[in-house]
């Protein structure tokens, strides 16, 4: 045992055994402070109607002659709606009350372009407004405790989504922790950083480069040093998506202070031959989520984690001639947590007899979902971040 190890271990031992009893009441406070949210983005526009299937609705079967999910294959959740058959892994979580399904989530004057609609979801603005900061980024800007560290919001990808970019602060994108950490340890870069001065930091663009480099360097070492203390041996499916979730579970389990984790799963743009593609993706999604939640439960961390799944839009009610569906509007959002106020199906299913130009009308604004999460989970004032009052929902 060398000196470093000794200090590390003795530090750990003292914090475990010698917590003064007068600090005990703060344990609850700390546990609330450890709350985090995992946001899963289904990119490409997931077909919500074939995900949460309105199996008792004739209109659904009339509009989708060749791609509807047959009633007998639907995993029934109530008398009207049920899971796509490849989401069978999720049924157990649903039955335990860990899942809430919010139907018909969207926004006024929907945009059917992928990038525009995704930008709207990321920036949380009206569809006729353009914003360069994302809602998570503005949360980081809002001076939440410890928010000066980029590792407060981590995206497990090669580059950072707009959602995580604020005006003065931003999250960090990291796919391979070890690799990023090694890159920042390059001796030459270290020397360059040591030699930096105020003039460089204050120069607009160069300062931005230096600041980003410094932040990356400190965050990468925090993430690496913290997460390497736990070994995660929990078995996950062999998919890239599950791998990312496993990384996040390891981060959470290692006691990292990160508030927001961001993951995406792409390929949902099913214009052609939807059946096979969506079947594969929903299976990948469901099995990943289930492994993740069970992993967190096995280490008693699930209570601190809330999960949110969205897609930039749903798809049109009527299928197209290529066995697929085209870009639509409102769709469902999934929330997972161990302590949801309203479990199961949150609101009534989309009204297929009352469409707007063949698309589902939204009944819940997605910013109400954000507002609820910000206010009731992350404990911050949502109005300052979303710049307007949106009615809070009851799932938290």
């Amino acid at each position: 045992m060398d000196r470093r190890q000794f200090i590390k271990r003795s530090g750990l031992a003292s914090s475990v055994f010698f917590v003064p009893s007068f600090l005990k009441p703060f344990e609850k406070y700390y546990s609330e402070n450890n709350r985090n949210i995992v946001i899963i983005q289904l990119s490409g526009g997931n077909d919500g109607l074939n995900t949460i299937v309105p199996y008792d609705n004739d209109l659904y079967y009339q509009q989708r002659k060749s791609i509807a999910i047959a009633k007998e294959n639907v995993i029934k959740l109530n008398d009207e709606q049920g899971f796509h058959p490849s989401m069978t892994a999720l049924k157990d979580l649903y039955d335990k009350g860990y899942m809430s399904i919010i139907n018909s989530v969207g926004y006024p004057n929907p945009d059917r372009s992928h990038f525009r609609s995704m930008d709207i979801w990321h920036t949380a603005t009206d569809s006729n407004q353009y914003e360069t900061t994302g809602w998570i980024g503005r949360y980081l800007d809002s001076n939440c405790a410890g928010c000066e560290h980029p590792y407060l919001a981590i995206e497990t990808d090669d580059n950072l989504s707009l959602a995580l970019k604020g005006s003065t602060k931003k999250g960090i994108a990291v796919k391979n922790v070890k690799q990023l950490y090694d890159e920042t340890r390059e001796p030459f870069f270290k020397n360059v950083l040591d030699a930096k001065d105020k003039v460089m930091l204050n120069e607009d663009n160069l300062g931005y480069l230096y600041k980003t480099m410094i932040e990356t360097s400190s965050s990468a070492s925090y993430i690496y040093e913290t997460s390497k203390q736990v070994a995660n041996t929990y078995a996950y499916p062999d998919t890239a998506f599950a791998k990312q979730l496993k990384t996040i579970a390891t981060f959470i389990n290692s006691g990292m202070q990160t508030k927001v984790y961001y993951v995406s799963l792409g390929g949902f743009d099913t214009h052609v031959n939807q059946i096979a593609t969506q079947q594969r993706l929903l299976k990948e999604y469901s099995e990943g989520v289930v492994a993740f939640i069970n992993n967190l439960k096995s280490v008693n961390k699930y209570d601190d984690t809330l999960m949110l799944t969205f897609s930039e839009f749903g798809r049109r009610v009527e299928q197209n001639a290529s066995g697929g569906t085209d870009h639509g509007t409102a769709s469902n959002v999934f929330v997972y947590g161990s302590n949801l106020k309203q479990k199961g199906i949150y609101n009534s299913m989309p009204d297929l007899s009352n469409l707007e130009e063949g698309d589902i009308k939204h009944t819940i604004d997605f910013r109400s979902v954000y507002a609820t999460v910000l206010q009731n989970w992350l404990g911050v004032n949502n109005t300052s971040i979303l710049k307007r009052d949106f009615p809070l929902l009851n799932f938290l």
Binding site: L160, R185, E186, M200, N205, L206, T216
Partner: protein, 131 residues
């Protein structure tokens, strides 16, 4: 990376190109193309961590070279510089922003004796991204 823009609209302009991981990749890329990922550099003091990193990078140099698969005609590059050019002139010519004295000191230090190393170092600096 270049072929995976954030969305179908492609890459936005300005600072949006730069975030934590893209910046580190950009800084590392020149040395990977030119020198198998090694930025030859004598770390100051006796930082064991720096020494270990250098050792590791040097060990991986051939592997990186193989994967990147570039051949640099160093003789041609180096002969393009006038014989009596100073390191300081080279730094001024390659970097648009003015670097400070501390940086200049270690770039032009006598131990940094090869022009090739200096070139690899210069193109690995954040300042070089400003060109």
């Amino acid at each position: 990376m270049l072929f995976y823009p954030p969305n179908v609209a492609g890459w936005a302009g300005g600072k949006s190109w730069i975030d934590s991981s893209t910046l580190m990749l950009r800084l590392k890329l020149p040395s990977m193309i030119l020198n198998g990922g090694v930025i030859d550099f004598e770390a100051q003091g006796d930082d064991p961590d720096a020494f270990k990193m250098m050792e590791m990078n040097t060990k991986n140099q051939e592997k990186v070279k193989e994967r990147v698969n570039t051949t640099i005609d160093w003789a041609a590059v180096l002969s393009a510089f006038p014989k009596d050019v100073t390191k300081s002139d080279v730094a001024d010519a390659l970097l648009q922003p003015i670097i400070n004295d501390i940086q200049k000191d270690f770039l032009v230090s006598p131990t940094n004796d090869s022009l090739k190393n200096l070139l690899v170092q210069l193109v690995s600096m954040p300042e070089y991204q400003m060109c």
